[in-house]
Assembly symmetry: C2
DNA sequence: TTGAGGAATTAACCTGGGTTAAAAACCGTG
DNA sequence: CACGGTTTTTAACCCAGGTTAATTCCTCAA
């Protein structure tokens, strides 16, 4: 709860699998604005590809929103092992396919939908989230400010 | 040139590798608005994960902007083969890692940057694109209208 | 060379969401 | 219960970008 798994700018060499709890991954801009990349729920996996694969530092921070149990996997070891272990490799393929599809959906929403539509879809698809996350964070996930989200809500309720 | 590789709503079972040429992948909304998901350059790979992996129909269309040579790969066969062939599987892992990183960057740009910043970065990172793609399409890739982009340009040149 | 169709620009007006700041509602803790 | 901090709402004002439509530019085929 409130603990960081890793922070922006850090070298990260692991992937994580969420057993229980809730995390948020977010970008912090130069002027201190927070943009939430994703919430990570039990069963989801998370990691900074850029950091662990391309050897850069992480572009975002990962922090627990609720008490969380994680399984940590050393990326490089996994990657090397996958070179010769077909079963492991195909598990990784599944992991990456799931990852890619999540990203594809998010990209679609950010590119094609208005903030209001994204909000409606979030209610539709992940209502649990609203029980555990402040409206502030919901807004920053939708790509708008808390004030903006409050306005959308009142607009929706006529 | 102008030929469709596949269109939105179609069942797609292949991935593609671009040998030469240029394509665009785009979403068409109910009210006829086009939003460009990505431009695909030589060396890039493209496919609808949702369609070929999850068995849904494609959420976007893929069309050639310039005469293009493609290598087509049947997804299911590839996926099955990868289950037992470590070398193949690890090639797929690399493919998916590259795919994931591209998506991650795009997500960041859409979530955190203004249209003007995205435009500046595009000039910076992919100037070639401007030789082959209309400004209309650049705008639709940036997530704004052609009118909006024209304004940004004049704003930048004081 | 001209004319026609598409691409880009410009202008006028509108709207969604940003910004700032204050007020109100909601906590948990002593 | 009251206090102090955090969330949420509300209000006033602002701006980026959307919309529509007219104008200019470009290109290319006849």
């Amino acid at each position: 709860m409130g603990e960081y798994v890793f922070t922006q700018g850090e070298e990260v060499s692991s992937l994580y699998l969420v057993k229980s709890g809730l995390l948020k991954a977010y970008y912090l801009s130069d002027d201190g604005k927070e943009n939430i990349k994703s919430f990570i729920l039990p069963g989801d996996n998370i990691g900074s590809l850029m950091a662990s694969y391309a050897g850069k530092t992480s572009t975002f921070s990962l922090v627990c929103v609720k008490p969380t149990e994680l399984i940590q996997v050393e990326f490089k070891a996994l990657y090397e092992a996958s070179r010769t272990d077909a079963e492991l490799s195909s598990a990784i393929v599944d992991f990456l396919l799931a990852f890619g599809m999540k990203k594809e959906i998010r990209e679609y929403e950010l590119l094609c939908l208005s903030a209001e539509e994204r909000y409606r879809r979030l209610i539709e698809n992940t209502p649990e989230l609203f029980d555990h996350v402040t409206q502030n964070d919901i807004a920053r996930y939708l790509g708008i400010t808390p004030v903006g989200l409050s306005r959308i809500k009142t607009r929706i309720n006529n």
